[in-house]
């Protein structure tokens, strides 16, 4: 072993030395199963003798006591309690015979003599198996007895103090009130306390004043921003989709949902349910749909040539891993490929759990569908109502669909007598003006020219029809025409059909007019009725037109006397557009001609070719999918559904009028479209293995009896009282947020490989209390911050430095560097620049140019205007491949994967950010202005004001003296270099306050720059 690698044994040694009373680690000289034996078995045996029956050899399983001690087919017993020599396991692992030896030499694995000795000792000692501590549901222990009982304020303190007394340590004195106020405000809101809150707290010297401050902070909307931001690390929330292209994604409504949920103190079980399965709740509200954005934060790969299914599978796996990590603190990722080596999670468990998440509609699509529309500002309630109404109408429609069988049959029967329109393709097309006519693949004809004029289209149709009873003209909107209209009038996209004539041309060249007897259109403009096209005395001013519905398709049917056509007869159609008021050009833009020989042709909507094809088949020949399609089509046209459909249309129009964006959500596939979930060999989606049914992890409590077998059931299972982990993991996370380290330090791993809890009974007490208290995080936080433990001074005495370097015993208060966003927010806040605007699209504060090098998009970082560049860090746009650099330097998160614990480094690059980043210079300039405007007239007074504003305490004379010295030095230098002084004082904020002059402002800016870099400022003390 060298100095870099520190094996498990070394770590254990140190751990034991450090915390030998951690109950879960040591049992005198006994072998601890979880710590020492399970890893050996997991590494070497479980592959063939583990939970997974599929891979099990010789009928032996070693992961549980009964299996290990059962009689095998061979007659031997693997583990005989107390008798290593009789245990077949020991015989096999010590055998020299390659046929006998375990693990088989072919695996390349071999036990070390020390490992064999461990197994022997373990068997000799009774071969005890034990369940890992965190897999046993928590119970509230009795509060331990303590000597210094008047120090304790609540249960937390009893547990902490009992431990301290055991260690012979005493708690630190309570921290001064100013520091306490700053600490608790930063912990609860991520911002320093406002001067008003601070003043009120200092003036009120009653015992309850602190609790009043805490309540006020918990009620502040800043609370939701601070704790919501931490949750977003778990949710891997970002504003782009990741991978190579990394295009934008509009999912900030989810971020706002999180903030709102925290502020409303949504109980953690409901918070869980809505995020994992909001779409599966009965009549989900818009807000519940937005909540499912939690799992739509997975990456989407839009690189050319990728297999969308591959990335859908990766996203689903990410959802599985993230769910288990966030709620149960277990690492599940490795079970994708093989049964978990250490924790009781088999590969089958993995894919059974995966099956719950494998049924959502999303599939690595560029448009991020499915989505829900969300109002951009203000109108969210209205949009929510409209959405709900729409969902309601859609359900009504669905219900009606089920009751329409008879009507559908009748309709189909009627169709047999219905007008059958035949689209006809002209052999030649001519326009009287310079327009070109082009036949389109959909049977329509597109007219184009530079400048539309008065127009006559003449179309020759080849022989083919034998009998004619009518002709239909469809006019179709087209993007190529003004306002994407049906006509070519350059003002409004309208047309005016001023005449229509039809002639039959016999093979001998004789032409016979065919008179139209009637005309009917689906829509005619007021005063411009379709009949006018038949006999038109005033074609310059009259005809058929469709304003204002110029962007919708329309049709007109012109009937004739039934007319038999001799073989070889051509049809010649002319369409006149002679309208010229106030200018010409009112011609068809794109149109389609159909003919019919049906009796009494009627104006009926054209049936799509695909539906026609199905209808031509006998009902016996139709597949279920065919029937589905016909039903869906019929519902969309049937008169029975018309009123509902109209209402839906109306709602859609209303919704369209509300300014809104679309944000991705989860939506379950209908049952009949459910995917078959199969295990994947080594996690490879191209190597599917056995099919599996959805199930929660087998080693934990059973699936709740009455819960639905879907994600909603998973949420119930996670938040069941019987789940041993969910509450522990949640309270531990909050604890770590306040005290810097979790009671279980490995927040991400509560499994057998994680670190044991420093105060197991405290963790369990908090977990049970959390559940008993209705899963309220605000209550939990209040309990933590009201404890005497939390209120201790964080000063490090020599004794504590030696005894408890990492403050695991908590004989002092928390003291550590603030998180990336908090440092930004704090600097903006004390300098007076911070905008408290909440919610909405993410913003782009200043960042150096040239960082985004997106080859496949024109996305650019554009500094947001006005107050938007001074908003809290949670609102900063996160591009996954190029996250905001200054926050990354302070261990911020690029949100590619779920992060349970940020590191907390201390580097020179951080110094460069707070010293030189133009954002922090701007803060220094703003703070120096406050010092001048709000402070007293003297430099000493102004500097003291600056220190007080930033640190929220009275500065010492020595501190002021150091900065006054700096001020004087800089003042002198600035007088030598007025231009430089001007830049330092005003590069970002512009005009210097009147009457002070650039040199003094520059000197104060330098002072402010120092204040914003003080260790105390960057640290929660």
């Amino acid at each position: 072993m060298d100095q870099i690698s520190y094996s498990l044994a070394t770590r254990l040694g140190i751990l034991m030395g450090l915390c030998c009373s951690f109950a879960v680690i040591c049992h005198g000289g006994e072998i601890d199963f979880n710590r020492e034996v399970r890893p050996i078995l997991a590494e070497n045996c479980f592959r063939c003798h583990g939970f997974d029956p599929a891979g099990r050899k010789a009928g032996l399983r070693l992961d549980e006591r009964d299996g290990a001690m059962g009689k095998l087919k061979s007659g031997s017993i693997a583990v005989v309690s107390g008798k290593p020599k009789e245990s077949e396991m020991i015989n096999r692992v010590t055998s020299d015979d390659d046929e006998e030896k375990m693990p088989p030499p072919s695996t390349g694995k071999q036990l070390t003599p020390a490992q064999i000795q461990t197994l022997q000792k373990w068997i000799a000692g009774g071969a005890a198996y034990s369940k890992h501590w965190s897999f046993i549901p928590p119970v509230k222990a009795m509060l331990p007895k303590v000597r210094l009982s008047d120090w304790t304020r609540n249960a937390i303190d009893s547990f902490i103090l009992a431990r301290l007394e055991q260690e012979g340590l005493t708690p630190s004195p309570q921290v001064d009130r100013r520091t306490l106020a700053r600490r608790v405000a930063l912990d609860i809101t991520g911002l320093p306390p406002s001067p008003a809150d601070m003043d009120a707290f200092l003036k009120d010297t009653s015992e309850e004043s602190y609790e009043r401050l805490v309540d006020k902070l918990l009620a502040s909307p800043a609370y939701g921003e601070h704790w919501g931001r931490r949750w977003l690390d778990l949710a891997r929330y970002a504003d782009t989709k990741g991978y190579e292209k990394d295009l934008k994604r509009t999912i900030w409504p989810y971020r706002d949902w999180v903030i709102d949920a925290f502020n409303a103190d949504m109980p953690y079980d409901r918070f869980t349910r809505e995020q994992l399965a909001g779409d599966l709740l009965p009549n989900p509200s818009n807000s519940q749909l937005i909540a499912t954005g939690f799992h739509r934060n997975t990456l989407t790969n839009e690189e050319g040539g990728v297999d969308a299914e591959e990335y859908r599978v990766i996203a689903v796996k990410d959802r599985v891993d993230t769910t288990v990590q966030v709620w149960m603190g277990l690492t599940m990722g490795c079970a994708k490929c093989h049964t978990h080596k250490f924790d009781p999670i088999s590969q089958r468990d993995y894919y059974q759990f995966y099956a719950f998440f494998n049924q959502t509609e999303d599939a690595n699509r560029g448009d991020d569908s499915p989505v829900v529309r969300v109002a951009v500002s203000g109108d969210s309630a209205r949009l929510g109502k409209l959405n709900a109404a729409l969902a309601d109408k859609n359900r009504q429609l669905e219900k009606m669909a089920g009751e329409l069988s008879e009507a559908e049959l009748a309709w189909e029967e009627q169709l047999r007598h219905e007008t059958i329109w035949q689209i006809v393709r002209p052999a030649t097309m001519r326009a009287a003006s310079s327009s070109t006519l082009a036949y389109q693949s959909d049977g329509s004809i597109l007219a184009e020219s530079k400048e539309p004029e008065k127009e006559t289209y003449t179309l020759h149709f080849p022989p083919g029809e034998t009998r004619l009873t009518g002709l239909r003209v469809e006019v179709l909107p087209d993007k190529k025409h003004p306002r994407s209209g049906v006509g070519r009038s350059h003002d409004d996209g309208n047309f005016v059909l001023t005449g229509i004539t039809l002639k039959a041309r016999a093979p001998d060249g004789v032409e016979t007019p065919i008179a139209f007897t009637n005309a009917v259109a689906d829509f005619s403009q007021q005063g411009y009725l379709v009949e006018q096209a038949l006999k038109n005395p005033d074609p310059k001013h009259r005809g058929w037109a469709v304003s204002p519905k110029i962007a919708e398709p329309h049709m007109a049917v012109f009937t004739t006397e039934p007319h038999d056509l001799a073989a070889g007869t051509e049809l010649i159609l002319t369409l006149d557009h002679q309208f010229e008021f106030p200018y010409p050009g009112f011609s068809f833009g794109r149109f389609r001609i159909s003919v019919t020989d049906s009796v009494a042709p009627r104006l009926s909507p054209p049936i799509p070719a695909s539906i026609q094809a199905i209808l031509r088949r006998d009902s016996a020949q139709r597949t279920a999918k065919d029937r589905d399609e016909v039903r869906t089509y019929f519902v969309s046209i049937s008169p029975q559904t018309k009123s509902v459909r109209d209402e839906i249309e109306k709602l859609k129009v209303e919704m369209g009028a509300v300014p809104s964006i679309a944000t991705p959500i989860l939506r379950e596939l209908p049952t009949e479209k459910h995917r078959q979930t199969r295990m994947m060999v080594r996690g490879n989606f191209l190597e599917p293995a056995d099919g599996v049914e959805p199930a929660t992890l087998a080693s934990f409590q059973a699936f709740p009896a009455h819960a639905p077998k879907n994600r909603l059931g998973v949420a119930e299972w996670l938040c069941s009282r019987d789940n041993p982990l969910t509450a522990r993991v949640a309270v531990n996370r909050v604890w770590a947020g306040m005290f810097g380290t979790g009671i279980v330090e490995t927040q991400e791993d509560f499994g057998t490989q994680g670190t044991p809890p420093s105060h197991p009974e405290l963790l369990d007490w908090l977990a049970v209390d959390f559940m008993d208290g209705g899963w309220s995080q605000k209550k939990l936080i209040k309990t933590l911050v009201l404890s005497a433990t939390y209120r201790q001074s964080s000063s490090v005495t020599k004794e504590l430095a030696g005894r408890d370097r990492f403050n695991r015993f908590l004989a002092r208060g928390p003291h550590f560097r603030l998180e990336a966003e908090t440092i930004r927010d704090e600097a903006l806040s004390v300098s007076g620049l911070l905008s408290r605007k909440m919610s909405g699209a993410s913003v782009m504060p200043y960042q150096p140019p040239g960082l985004w090098k997106s080859t496949y998009s024109d996305d650019r970082w554009q500094t947001s205007p006005g107050e938007d560049q001074f908003r809290r860090g949670i609102y900063t746009f996160i591009k996954r491949t190029t996250p905001y650099p200054s926050m990354m330097t302070f261990d911020g998160n690029s949100r590619e994967t779920c992060t349970l614990r940020r590191s907390r480094t201390n580097t020179p690059l951080q110094a460069l950010v707070t010293l030189n980043d133009p954002v922090f210079i701007q803060c220094a300039q703003a703070l120096s202005r406050r010092m001048v405007m709000e402070g007293p007239g003297t430099p000493e007074g102004q500097i003291a004001f600056g220190l007080r504003t930033a640190l929220l305490r009275e500065p010492t004379p020595q501190e002021v003296k150091v900065l006054v010295q700096l001020y004087n030095d800089r003042l002198e230098a600035s007088r030598q270099d007025p231009q430089g002084a001007e830049k330092l004082a005003a590069s970002a904020l512009g005009t210097i306050p009147p009457g002070i002059g650039a040199p003094r402002m520059a000197a104060l800016t330098a002072v402010a720059n120092v204040i914003l870099n003080l260790d105390e400022f960057l640290t929660k003390g």
Binding site: S794, G802, T882, P908, A981
Partner: protein, 508 residues
Amino acid sequence: MNLKHEYAKAITRRHFFGRMGMGIGAIALNDLLSGRSAAVAAEKPVGQPSAAELSRKIAAIAPKAKAVIYLHMAGAPSQLDLFDYKPALVPLNGKDCPEEFLKGKRFAFIKGVPKMLASPFKWAQHGPSGAWLSEVWKHLPQVLGDIAIVKSMNTEQFNHAPAQLLLHTGTQLLGGASLGSWATYGLGTENQNLPGFVVLTSGGKTPDAGVSVWGSGFLPSIYQGVQCRTDGDPVLFLSDPQGLDRAGRRQTLDALRQLNEMQVQAIGDPETVTRISQYELAFRMQVSVPDAMDISRESKQILDLYGARTGYVSDLGNKSGDVRDLYRGDDPTFANNCLLARRLVERGVRFVQLYDWGWDHHGVAPGEHIPTILPIKVQQIDRAFTGLIKDLKQRGLLDTTLVIWGGEFGRTPMQQNNNAKFIGRDHHPESFTMMLAGGGIKPGQVYGETDELGYNITENPVSIRDLQALILTQLGLDPWKLAYNYQGLQQRLIGVEGKAKVPRGLLA
């Protein structure tokens, strides 16, 4: 980040190196306060790793290399058109690929039965090893005596991002620690005034796998690569604010230090002590980084040796569309980066990672047409690479600097598109070629061999794991012991399974 592991590490280190009777904090504080009372700090714990700590790590086994310059050709250059001469492909050119090569294989883009593709270039033997090189190399033959060509590289991944991640971070998934971060984690840095792990890019794009290929993954973020840029500040926020000169910055830092020292006396948190030293380091970096990054300090002779050009700033990153259509053979970005790499290594930087994008030549776009694009890409790097080897050698740095050149996988002996306008090859994980030089590598050899069509390896295969083990070993780190506990596993660069062997034949 795991405090206890850091703690364990510190304890272990202390145990093995008794000279460190006090924690880093105490040392730093003593350095800073020089003789003033440090009663509070005398028994300071070691907090999170700091740059100060970086400099105090000591290698585990005798190192051959002190530094690494890794030149990654992102996209994967075609070994069959550069190094791996296969005359047997000539008569097969345009013929269907034999079925035996296709059975059970998964290709990124090839569908159906592809045609074989001979190299469109002329080939000749060069140097003491008689290595075959295609005609696109103009300068490389001059240094064949100093490098080893490894024709038997192979990998497990056949898409760019996963293959790049596997190569550089030891796992095809996001979240692993990169080579450079392992190296600085294991060894620290030799120059406290510069980052220990520096990244430079060219080709107009970052590598396909994004910044994760130089991330620190589960290691503390202090070990992540620092990208140095050639336009603007070479390191973000390196410049003092407008109007504050060096003397002014010094005065502010003096005041800051005095106030922070008061904080040390009042609270006694060793992190404050570390912070004081980090501000001093930042101050020194403000001078040392621009100095290291200023190639105008080099002579014309040296600039010419690399083909470097001072003051050149590529604008490819700001172009839309396919930047490969805009490539010019005389673009000096890569050459400038090679020269910078030497300057950085000279100053004690542990790991310099270059990424050059634009080597993914499928033959489905003009920028992927091997007969025209490969000579352009090689022109961009040929003289620079050759110059780098020569320059390191003439300065006596080659012996202690391991230079690595290569892509994330190879390219197929088959043409990707059977009837395309452009000629290109698909991804080929089974075999590819890399170049290694210096740092204890046996020079002047060609290592490994492939079959007559260049499909499979027939001799001395070198896996990605083997290469990773080789790099760590040359740096004096034991690849099997260099580990970090994360998510319940002893994470290693060479993988949890540890299936790697150092290719001894490559070592001098």
